[in-house]
């Protein structure tokens, strides 16, 4: 893992955490990777806004269907898992 990659991941995580914190009406510093989105009070509309923000900010398609949340193999349960999912989508879709 070289330095550039670490910086990239770091920036990605900061941006994702900022999106989640904005939805949870909290400061980003108040979020930890272990927290679940449910515990942050994020409901289905909040989830739709988060996915919208991720697609806009990272220029990716998030293949999420609220009727079948696990279908795309995306784990959006915790702050950390959302960061990992976005990282994977960015790698896959933007090479």
């Amino acid at each position: 893992m070289d330095g550039n990659f670490l910086t990239l991941e770091d920036g990605l995580q900061r941006k994702v955490v900022a999106i989640l914190a904005a939805q949870a009406l909290r400061e980003p510093s108040g979020l930890t990777l272990e927290m679940t989105l449910e515990s942050l009070g994020i409901d289905s509309l909040g989830m739709a806004e988060i996915i919208f923000a991720i697609e806009e900010d990272f220029d990716v398609q998030v293949p999420f269907n609220a009727n079948d949340p696990d279908a795309a193999g995306l784990d959006l349960g915790t702050v950390g898992s959302v960061c990992a999912a976005v990282s994977r989508l960015v790698r896959e879709q933007r090479g």
């Binding site: 739709a48 806004e49 996915i51």
Partner: protein
């Protein structure tokens, strides 16, 4: 017949003012709130005037979440509903909330949301729109948010009959309270179509005035659009009396008819039967009516047809005024905002005028249109008309409280 129905609260935002008191003051002063509009791409429109609400800052009134979820029309409805409930001093127990609901009218629903979304995907080449686009633009959003905010768990729905929407909505609310189906209803309408797409579509019909709304005047040259909302609390009369709250007016009758003729041109027959029906439903004679708030759009077709209909119903017509001359035509919210003028006549004894009037028109058949200056009069009963594209007519009869 059924129960009597009281109006115990009123709320509004429109181009005249952002509350009832300010609106009544403006209406009785004959103040015209129609003027140059301001929104994206207005330079591409041929008609640039309207009754646009200025100084509306959503962020000052709603949370960030609410701003992303509420179309402009919903914002207007939520504020008007808040005012109405506050005036009525409405507090409902859990059981009472099950027998309270909302019925609102809107012609266009979330028109600004539709316009912004289409601009994003068509003009700006974006590939996605905001995820709340559907819950923002749907016609029943305003009624839903009022039910949610005030915990009204009975019947809630939206009526969309173009320019008669809110009269139909208020008429249905009246029927539900009168019949005992519910005890309390929020009723009215909300509209916000003053955006590029909304007005571009109207341009095609060639019915818009470039310089002002002058109903019943020989110089008339079309309608002028407005925006806003008005919401009222309709309540079982005995319940209102038991609570000891002031009653603004009594809703006494309602009728709806169809021309079943032309999709845009009005037929005096449908309007005549609507007024006669409302009188019969209220058990009133034409002689009892002291004021008619006209549909009065300022189009040649409406002026002619409505004047003819009033002549058919009344041997000696009462004063008739068209207040769209001041706040503009609020389409699906028109009847609701115009009910404020009816309340002014019944409760305060002041008939708001037809503003902008310049010269007599033979097509108006000699009606007294209360030109330019409000008039003091004791009005015991009144009618308010709404005649929509589609030939759908809705007339309400109201009585002075007492």
């Amino acid at each position: 017949m059924g129960r009597r129905v009281a109006i115990t609260g009123a709320g509004t935002v429109n181009a005249l003012a952002l509350d009832v008191q300010g609106s009544l003051a403006a209406l009785t002063a004959g103040r015209v709130a129609i003027g140059p509009m301001d929104f994206e791409e207005i330079d591409r429109l041929s008609v640039k005037i309207g009754g646009q609400i200025k100084d509306w800052v959503p962020e000052d009134r709603f949370t960030r979440q609410e701003v992303t979820l509420y179309d402009r029309a919903v914002q207007f409805a939520v504020e008007a509903g808040r005012q109405a409930i506050a005036e009525a001093g409405l507090e409902l127990s859990e059981a009472e909330a099950l027998r309270a609901g909302v019925v609102l009218g809107t012609g266009g629903g979330g028109y600004n949301t539709i316009d912004e979304s289409y601009r994003a995907v068509h003009a700006q080449g974006k590939n996605r729109v905001h995820p709340f686009t559907i819950p923002k633009l749907m016609h029943n959003a305003a009624a839903a948010h009022l039910a949610m905010r005030h915990g009204l768990k009975g019947p809630s729905f939206t009526v969309s009959t173009a320019c008669a929407s809110s009269n139909h909505a208020m008429g249905l609310a009246f029927q539900m309270v009168r019949s005992g189906a519910t005890d309390v209803m929020l009723a009215g309408g909300a509209e916000s179509t003053l955006c590029f797409g909304g007005l571009k579509a109207w341009e095609g019909l060639r019915v818009m005035s470039p310089d002002g709304c002058r109903p019943f005047c020989a110089s008339r040259n079309g309608m002028v659009q407005g925006e806003g909302a008005a919401v009222f609390v309709f309540e079982d009369w005995d319940r209102a009396v038991a609570r000891g709250v002031p009653i603004l007016a009594e809703v006494a009758g309602f009728a709806m008819t169809s021309d079943a003729g032309d999709i845009v041109l009005p037929d005096p027959d449908g309007a005549t039967r609507a007024m006669q029906g409302a009188l019969a439903d209220a058990d009133l004679t034409p002689e009892a009516i002291g004021y008619i708030n006209a549909h009065g759009t300022g189009t040649a077709a409406n002026d002619r047809s409505e004047a003819e209909a009033i002549r058919r119903v009344f041997d000696a017509p009462p004063p008739v005024s068209a207040t769209k001359s001041m706040h503009g035509h609020l389409l699906g919210a028109a009847g609701a905002v115009e009910l404020l003028s009816v309340i002014s006549a019944l409760r305060d004894g002041v008939i708001p005028p037809t503003a902008g009037w310049r010269e007599e028109d033979p097509a108006v058949l000699g009606l007294d249109v209360v030109p330019n200056e409000a008039r003091r009069a004791q009005v015991d009963a009144a009618l308010t008309n709404a005649f929509a594209f589609g030939g759908m007519n809705a007339c309400l009869a109201l009585k002075r409280a007492g």
